[in-house]
């Protein structure tokens, strides 16, 4: 059963960050919304807390920028937006991913599903 976990971990490792980038492509979003949406996806198998380090890394890499917004009755909340280099990285991933996915589908026989 550890193999199952390892597989999803491996698949996730290269792709989850681009899912994050895509989430803020159209508009800035609060961190809580990002992690909630991704955490809700069962097949991603990522608990909400594990996405926060990813957000930080993407910010350090310059693909996301973040601001804090003061809330009237709650703690300050962080919200993220896509930078230009983040946008470019997302576009690049899209091209790579489609070709990669098509190749794998063809090789393992899941194409056309």
């Amino acid at each position: 059963m550890a193999d199952v976990a390892q597989l999803s971990t491996g698949l996730r490792r290269g792709t989850l960050e681009f899912c994050v980038l895509a989430m803020v492509e159209q508009e800035d979003r609060y961190a809580t919304e990002i992690v909630r949406s991704l955490g809700d996806e069962d097949s991603l198998a990522a608990s909400e807390g594990t996405i926060y380090p990813l957000l930080s890394r993407l910010r350090r890499a310059g693909w996301l920028d973040s601001k804090w917004s003061e809330s009237p009755s709650g703690p300050p909340r962080r919200y993220y937006g896509l930078t230009d280099s983040g946008r470019a990285a997302l576009e690049h991933f899209r091209a790579e991913w489609v070709s990669f996915r098509q190749t794998v589908d063809r090789l393992v026989g899941t194409g056309g599903a």
């Binding site: 390892q6 909400e48 926060y52």
Partner: protein
């Protein structure tokens, strides 16, 4: 659940996580803890009447502190350190035991979130306010907050969590020195017994070896070698009977014969 108890539970959870990520660079560590603290606060803010169940649910969705710590080490790129091995071990060992299909847990035990009765008194630290900025123009908070009963202005246990230093990380392996000591002690005792038996056999070489002759010999040898198990009263007796090894003068000198034909040590008593 009272607000104080809730704060205490959250602070404890954050402390637990803080201990696990102690090897992160300090800025990243603080950032992670702050992000999570803000997350929990926001989630609780949306449910003004949140009790322990809701709080536990929030923490459960965040995931096991160990999984979060593993992700933090991995994202920090700690390749050569313990953090990386820790992350790999956690991520591969985390079997498909999941809470609600989201959190990745390490053990089948329920979350270790029992609020202890200890009195956690948060120091009256002012909330750390980041540079205020405008609300995002395009998207506001997802849910309107109809008159939240509890304001956030008071210095709560949340913010007080960050300034104090977290406790040092608990070393994962503590049993090893004891195991080693126990094994060494066992080996020592076995060696002592074997040498004693061997010595007794040599002394009673050729003649019928009574079991009684072996027993005194063992404590005798152990008294000679060093700490023996409560054999001080026995040692003088043994010394009077068969003792070519340490040749102690005794009262019954006549009974001490250096020849190996001495069969009955007990008879001399």
């Amino acid at each position: 659940m009272s607000a104080d108890k809730r704060d205490e539970l959250v602070a404890e959870w954050l402390r637990e996580l803080g201990a696990l990520v102690a090897d992160l660079p300090v800025v990243q560590r603080r950032e992670l803890l702050r992000d999570l603290e803000s997350h929990i606060g926001s989630e609780l803010e949306e449910r003004p009447e949140a009790g322990e169940t809701e709080l536990l649910e929030i923490l459960e969705r965040l995931g096991e502190p160990r999984a979060i710590a593993a992700a933090a080490y991995e994202e920090a790129g700690l390749g050569q350190t313990e953090g990386r091995a820790f992350a790999a071990a956690v991520l591969t060992a985390a079997a498909p035991e999941r809470y609600s299909g989201r959190a990745v847990v390490i053990t089948p035990a329920p979350p270790v979130l029992h609020p202890r009765p200890e009195a956690y008194v948060p120091p009256a630290a002012a909330p750390q306010a980041p540079p205020p900025s405008d609300k995002p123009g395009r998207r506001g908070p997802s849910a309107p907050r109809p008159g939240a009963a509890r304001g956030w202005a008071r210095p709560s246990g949340f913010h007080a969590m960050l300034p104090p230093a977290p406790p040092p990380p608990v070393p994962p392996r503590q049993a090893t020195p004891w195991v080693v000591a126990a094994v060494a002690g066992g080996i020592f005792l076995v060696v002592v017994v074997l040498v004693g038996c061997f010595g007794g056999l040599m002394l009673a070489n050729g003649s019928s070896v009574e079991p009684a002759s072996v027993v005194p010999a063992a404590p005798m040898v152990s008294a000679e070698v060093g700490p023996g198990p409560a054999d001080a009263p026995v040692a003088p007796d043994a010394a009077t009977t068969v003792d070519p090894l340490d040749a102690e003068p005794t009262e019954d000198a006549a009974t001490v014969t250096p020849t190996p034909d001495e069969p009955e040590p007990a008879a001399t008593e």
